[in-house]
């Protein structure tokens, strides 16, 4: 324990740039592998897959028929936004219980929520259509029956701010809660916003949550039409093949990750157990294309370098990379090429793994889910495997943690997230304050 004796702000535990150190004091996670850190870690390190054939709705006519759905959580009425909210609550409750911070429904800081964009969904749209009472109707007819309070609940459910609003009320977070999307990097961005708020001194604690429960027909179709999804439907658990030569896309999945972030000073003052440190965050936008990375990889390279600089670490100090590793042909190749530039000769010494081989791509939640897994990796000194790694891609020379978990000395993990719209974000997580 490091407590300065000269008092005042000068004594606050700060990083080498003079900023408050940001630590993690509570974590929660839900994926298709289960609810909670314990189940997830056990199954993750055993190399189990949470991917299965979708049973929630008919799969006839779909090209990709599997997903990492969270089927053990049900919401009524059925909606992806409702499930998204419920997953967020499960993860948040686990994180708050561990952090033991604030009173009941009285979290002493702001909420940053990564959440999928919200819109009216098909079950509700069809319900509205049936209420019209005739066939061959147009939008004017839909409008005619929409008002009068009969569908008032649809308004609230399908506002973009609805999930954050309910979480803010339930957990008593302070101020205006922020809902955000940076596509597949959203989870990392939520954590980054929390880190920035604490570093500014705006808050001593922040609740950062990322959630996605959006496996529904239209979401699958949308990604399918962009040729982003694996179509290796049988067996579903073998579909997600990061870094393999025969990879053919990602597998959609659901989940949530939650973190209680605190200034080191405030965590120490209340005697909280410190689970790890968010040592650095970085992001850099790619302006090349809506779905593809700049061929020279410069934005991703820049993103990782900004993150290293933000953490005050050299590439040689990173001893594990929790890869974005979606298993799309483009992502994995680009991720290898750019990582090789940043880490150079040190890269062969860094074990790399993709949690998405087992839990699929939890989209808006992925950055936070994988940050939780990165901290569990630090805690257990054991790296979860990349399963389905049977046919290595000869162009990707990562030291992939293939098929079986690996015990390793891990002190600093880089977790990467890259998304549509040129979104690149990276985090560096460490065990102890530097």
């Amino acid at each position: 324990m490091r407590r300065s004796i000269d008092g005042g702000n000068m004594s606050a535990p700060r990083d080498k740039f003079g900023r408050p150190i940001v630590v993690v004091t509570g974590m929660g996670v839900v994926t298709s592998l289960g609810a909670g850190k314990k189940d997830n870690w056990t199954r993750l390190t055993a190399g189990e897959s949470g991917i299965r054939t979708v049973t929630r709705f008919p799969i006839d006519g779909l090209k990709s028929t599997m997903a990492g759905t969270v089927d053990f959580v049900r919401v009524d009425p059925v909606s992806s936004t409702g499930l998204t909210e419920q997953l967020a609550k499960l993860a948040t409750e686990e994180a708050l219980e561990q952090a033991a911070i604030g009173g009941k429904a009285d979290f002493p800081g702001p909420l940053f929520l990564a959440v999928a964009p919200v819109e009216v969904e098909w079950p509700q749209r069809l319900e509205l259509g049936r209420a019209i009472g005739k066939t061959d109707f147009g939008y004017e007819d839909m409008l005619r029956v929409s008002g009068g309070g009969r569908f008032a609940a649809f308004h609230h459910r399908f506002m973009f701010g609805s999930v954050a609003s309910h979480l803010a009320e339930t957990y008593g977070t302070k101020g205006s809660p922020i809902s955000l999307s940076t596509a597949c990097a959203s989870g990392a961005t939520a954590i980054q916003l929390g880190v920035e708020a604490i570093r500014r001194g705006d808050a001593d604690a922040a609740l950062c949550v990322a959630t996605d429960g959006s496996v529904n027909p239209e979401a699958l179709v949308r990604f399918s039409l962009l040729s982003a999804l694996s179509t290796q439907n049988d067996p579903p658990q073998a579909a997600s093949k990061p870094f393999s030569k025969n990879r053919d896309g990602f597998v959609m999945a659901e989940g949530a990750g939650a973190m209680v972030l605190e200034s080191y000073e405030s965590a120490m003052a209340r005697g909280a157990r410190i689970l790890g440190v968010v040592a650095g965050c970085g992001e850099l936008t790619d302006s090349f294309h809506r779905t593809r990375s700049s061929p020279d990889g410069k934005p991703i390279i820049g993103c990782m370098r900004k993150t290293l600089a933000d953490a005050g670490l050299e590439p040689e100090q990173i001893d594990h990379i929790n890869a974005h590793g979606t298993a799309t042909p483009e992502n994995d190749k680009m991720e290898y090429n750019t990582t090789a530039v940043v880490f150079g000769d040190h890269l062969p010494k860094i074990p790399v793994s993709s949690n998405k081989s087992m839990v699929g791509h939890t989209i808006s939640a992925a950055g936070a889910v994988e940050a939780v897994f990165s901290l569990l990796t630090l805690e257990h000194q054991r790296i979860p495997p990349t399963i389905n790694y049977e046919v290595p891609d000869p162009a990707i020379l990562f030291d992939v943690v293939a098929n079986k978990a690996r015990d390793a000395r891990v002190t600093a993990v880089m977790s990467n997230s890259f998304g549509f719209g040129g979104q690149n974000a990276s985090l560096i997580l460490t065990r102890e304050p530097a």
């Binding site: 702000n9 000068m10 069809l126 939008y139 839909m142 569908f151 955000l180 708020a197 039409l225 809506r290």
Partner: protein, 400 residues
């Protein structure tokens, strides 16, 4: 070694403004329209619903590649266009060195749906002849593959990066009116603290969308039959959706001075909260709690509000305004309609524009709540109270 105490907050200037709306595009057009009390409403196209349609705009002027325009739906084109105007206004358009490190926070909803596809599926379902596979098959066959990218919230920011090269950081906040209040709040906090030097902040809204009319009709929020100015709407009230895009370039004073940029105004403070609106008066109480945090210096002044015109929030906002009778009020909803995420940046833009022109634009309100305010304003409060949640305010000040 950085001094381990928080440095003094940096002063933040608004150095670029881009507006496109139902009243036209650019600062001169808007200043003229406001002074002429012009209002552009269409009560026919979606009758009985009323919208403020986007004025004719040549998108080529800011989005030169037709291929880029085709990849976007209207809300993204409006926003990308307004962002280009803001970058031009700040004098940084094409400046790769600055754009490459410019931070961006966009407040966004989602994009247009393919209405023909939706209706075909709904009609088949209502006829009872849809098999379990029907929805999947129709979506797989009928949706345009790129429509998803035109709908995704963060792809307005993505398009601004592609078209204009804004490529430092990119964050998209969601959550209706509050999203842009928070976008301004976070951008200001980051620049004040040195986490950022220059940022592009704003939003876009296409109000001419049947799918949005339906969404708001669920909550009985739409104004119907006859257009009236915001303050004239009765207790049930309603909003007329408006189309608009508005972006601001904000930067630290040092950064602006180093590049010789001329400021429109200073952004001094942004505060926000989320009242749980379960008791009558919750909004009034929330606004009253925010007011002392703003740093308003006197009992008289100027206030631009994005009041929606829906009940009960606008009535509760009126109650708050009654507590501050020395403030000359202007409601943007009267002229621009309700532009959701865009309403707060629009208020900031009009505040900065008014301060830079040395006058508050005239009232446009037959009820008398808005009054003439001669003289040169030195502070303008911008207020936003969302139609169902979220409250916030900003203080914009003249740079003498």
């Amino acid at each position: 070694m950085t001094e381990p105490t928080a440095p003094a907050a940096k002063e933040v200037w608004i150095t670029g403004i881009g507006i496109v709306s139902s009243l036209g595009e650019g600062l001169d057009a808007h200043w003229d329209a406001l002074n002429q009390k012009r209002i552009n409403v269409d009560d026919k196209r979606f009758a009985p619903y009323i919208v403020h349609p986007l004025a004719p705009v040549s998108f080529d002027a800011q989005i030169p590649k037709k291929g880029d325009q085709r990849q976007m739906e209207a809300w993204q084109r409006i926003g990308t266009y307004a962002a280009g105007l803001a970058l031009d206004s700040a004098g940084v358009k094409g400046n790769q060195e600055i754009l490459g490190r410019m931070d961006m926070i966009v407040a966004a909803g989602g994009g247009e749906r393919d209405i023909a596809v939706d209706l075909a599926i709904m009609n088949a379902d209502a006829k009872g002849n849809s098999s379990p596979a029907f929805l999947n098959e129709r979506l797989m066959n009928d949706l345009r593959p790129t429509l998803f990218l035109a709908q995704l919230s963060n792809l307005l920011a993505g398009n601004i990066a592609i078209v204009h090269g804004v490529s430092g950081t990119s964050r998209t906040f969601m959550g209706e009116e509050a999203a842009s209040i928070d976008a301004a709040r976070i951008a200001l906090a980051r620049i004040e603290s040195g986490q950022s030097e220059i940022a592009l902040v704003g939003a876009a809204h296409n109000g001419e969308r049947p799918d949005l009319l339906i969404l708001y009709e669920f909550g009985d929020f739409n104004l119907t039959e006859k257009y009236t100015p915001v303050w004239q709407r009765d207790d049930k009230g309603g909003f007329a959706l408006g189309s608009a895009g508005c972006f601001l370039v904000m930067e630290s004073r040092e950064h602006a001075e180093a590049r010789g940029a001329k400021p429109y105004a200073r952004l001094t403070k942004v505060v926000a909260d989320l009242a749980q609106r379960k008791q009558p008066g919750a909004v009034t109480k929330s606004l009253e709690a925010l007011w002392p945090k703003l740093g308003v210096t006197g009992d008289t002044g100027n206030l631009i509000t994005g009041a929606t015109g829906v009940g009960p929030v606008t009535s509760e906002e009126k109650e708050f305004l009654r507590q501050h009778p020395g403030f000359a009020v202007r409601a943007t909803g009267t002229m621009f309609g309700h532009t959701l995420e865009t309403q707060f940046p629009l208020g900031l833009a009009l505040a900065a524009l008014s301060l830079s022109r040395g006058a508050l634009f005239p009232p446009n309100d037959p009820t008398g709540l808005e009054v003439e305010k001669p003289g040169v304003p030195d502070q303008i409060v911008v207020l936003g109270a969302g139609h169902w949640q979220g409250e916030g305010m900003a203080l914009v000040e003249a740079i003498k």
